[in-house]
């Protein structure tokens, strides 16, 4: 017995296929309620003997004959819960997945989970731990908003995670907020708008800026400018998001910077002094395409275009409205002073320089 037990430890550097444990892979797409489970055929063979004719090879036919046996072995060893109830896991016909660590038995799974208000997913995994404590499951969970990776071990074979429940309502609110933020923080849009509003309280006459006395005129022209701008950017925002029009975003950014220079210069020497709203509309078309980039780059938006487009648009308008209601009273008050025209001109120069700076920056990037 002693001699039999004296096995020669010819294991000076046992470097087989790597000291890695054997792995299985599980990729869950939560939105589709589907998953792909890949199990190494060698591990599976050890557990339930797949090579029926013992010729060291596994043919597709051999494997297919044992589908039921394999599924009966595998499925009870995986549980996925949504909220407090186990999902019903159904396996579609298996496939073969050759990964560079071996040949894998690949099961596509569909999950039938009861709808729940409790946004939690639980995965419990028991495959092979009774045979091999080194076995690991590499889990990837993809939700609407993120992709999470996790490893399950013999000693740690349960995992749960709270997922964001993206309802229509929360998506709407999310993009509403995003729209608002984009305007409030999007300094270039802001600057453009303010630049347009500055001369609203003045009148260009005889080659100089004079105070516009009539409040109704002022109000009416403000309304026209803001509305024209809003309408224009709503149109192009929609068209660009729906990919009806597509301009390279680099040039859009450059043009936006250019637009700021134009309106700032126009404040100094107006080529356009009446029908400001036309200027606002024209450049509004441009700015709308700039807004669209946010939606075009958002995976989430792409999945719910109508909701997100509407929400974003409304958000942009709301943000704009906020700015306008803050800025206009200030302009009004300032315009009581005689030096207002100089304030406007100086501000316009500064704005023009900022615009020029952005132009150069965006051109060179």
């Amino acid at each position: 017995m002693q001699l039999r037990l004296i096995l020669i430890s010819m294991i000076f550097c046992i470097n087989g296929y790597g000291h890695e444990s054997n792995f299985s892979y599980l990729n869950i797409d939560w939105q589709k309620r589907s998953a792909q489970w890949d199990i190494n055929i060698i591990d599976l063979d050890y557990a339930i003997s797949l090579d029926q004719n013992a010729d060291n090879q596994l043919t597709w036919g051999e494997l297919q004959k044992q589908q039921k046996k394999i599924k009966t072995y595998l499925l009870p060893r995986l549980q996925i819960k949504s909220g407090s109830e186990n999902c019903n896991i159904k396996a579609l016909p298996a496939q073969i997945n050759p990964l560079n660590k071996g040949i894998y038995y690949s099961l596509r799974l569909t999950l039938k989970c009861k709808p729940t208000s409790h946004p939690q997913i639980q995965v419990a995994y028991h495959l092979f731990y009774d045979i091999d404590t080194h076995h690991q499951l590499l889990l990837t969970l993809t939700t609407a908003t993120k992709t999470i990776n996790h490893t399950l071990y013999a000693k740690d074979n349960r995992w749960q995670i709270n997922i964001d429940q993206y309802t229509k309502k929360s998506t709407f609110l999310h993009f509403l907020k995003l729209g608002m933020m984009h305007v409030l923080i999007g300094f270039d849009h802001l600057l453009f708008l303010v630049t347009l509003l500055l001369p609203a309280v003045l009148l260009w006459k005889n080659k100089q800026w004079l105070k516009q006395p009539r409040i109704t005129t002022i109000t009416w022209s403000l309304v026209k400018v803001v509305s024209a701008f809003s309408l224009a950017h709503s149109i192009t925002l929609t068209l660009a998001t729906l990919k009806v029009i597509q301009w390279p975003s680099h040039w859009i950014e450059v043009s936006i910077a250019f637009s700021i220079i134009v309106v700032a210069c126009n404040n100094l020497y107006p080529l356009v002094s009446k029908r400001y709203w036309l200027l606002a509309f024209t450049f509004g078309l441009l700015h709308g395409m700039g807004f669209a980039n946010v939606l075009l780059n958002s995976e989430m938006a792409q999945k719910a275009l109508f909701t997100t487009l509407l929400a974003f648009n409304v958000g942009v308008e709301m943000g704009q409205l906020l700015i306008v209601t803050l800025v206009i009273p200030i302009i009004f008050l300032l315009s009581r002073w005689r030096i207002y025209r100089y304030i406007m001109q100086i501000s316009s120069i500064i704005i023009m320089l900022i615009g020029a700076f952005w132009l150069v920056e965006r051109l060179s990037c």
């Binding site: 001699l3 790597g18 050890y46 060291n56 496939q95 073969i96």
Partner: protein, 388 residues
Amino acid sequence: MPSTTFFNIILLCGISISGVWAKPYTPQHADDIVAQLPLSKDPDRIKLQQLRASLSQQPKQLSVALHYSYAALRLAQRHAEPRFYGYIKAALEPWWQQTPMPSEVQLLRAIIAQSQHHFKLALIDLHVVLKQQPHNAHARLVKALILYTQGKYQQAKQACTRLILFSDHLTSTLCIVQVTSANGQARKGRQLLLKQLRQTKQTSPRLQLWGWTLLAEISQRLNEPQLAEEYYKKALQWDDKDHYLNVAYADFLLETHRYQDIINRYSLPLSNPLLVRLAFAEKALEKPIFRQHQLFLKQRFATEQQQNDRHWRDYALYLLLREQPQQALSAAITHWQTQRQPEDTLLVYRAALAAKQPQAIETIAQWFKQQKLEDYRIQSIANSLKIQ
């Protein structure tokens, strides 16, 4: 061979589709081969499955669990397949957390640790086992071999000598010669061992395998390739599939420039060490398949890196294959910090030669001289690099 080609094709599909989320496919025909199961016919593994069946009937029976574990251990060593260590751990799970751990279980834990290069942990466990069971020859042997691997020849020799009391003559001779042949006693050791192997009535395949392999390796170091070939052939008769032997033999074939022999002998699926050596041969003969195998190796080593499980020796060889001598040298030196068998020292020298950096291995060169390791390959590199 059609099946190998098919498997290679499948592997290539796997390679060309990078990342875990490769495309699964449905094979077209029932007799399409989807996988090679190299061990499914192996009698040892079949026996192992039977043992597992009986173990699952009595999971708390230590003797059954030990029987299973040793059967798995033999497979692990023979095929260099680390899965089996996981199997052993699973089988011994009921005792793994026990304090005190039963000696037999602790010994297996030490052996698994050793195989994963956690030498310090292994030695700690072995120390405890030997304290409780001073007569435990297996534990003492494992300890001796760890010490040998670490280059602590004096201590290793001591442990081997103690083995004389508790084990058969051949085993203790093997142990002693393993150590002393790397420590200035190559010819004497070889002679002694040869005599023992011929005379002994001990026909344990594992011991014979070890013996002839060791004789071959010593002969290789002494620049006697005909003898080495003869001994390798004898070893292969005892076990054609043993992983350690095959790696050593592949090295021998490379050194004697027998590249076609390597290509004829080794085909996929292969472990990393064997695949690297095959790739060297293919590169030397400018075989087109070299590029695929190199790519395959690249991905395997990338996976190792991802899992934080770098095997420095193979990696150093791979870097030499890729003609990146600087990195190869630093990998070889890293490896040498924990393992100092003659092959490991040789690897460092090879890398230093490729990188033309003799100064990087000054301490190692000193050690080499001190230990009186007789290895003509190392000596000739030392001469080329003009290391004293």
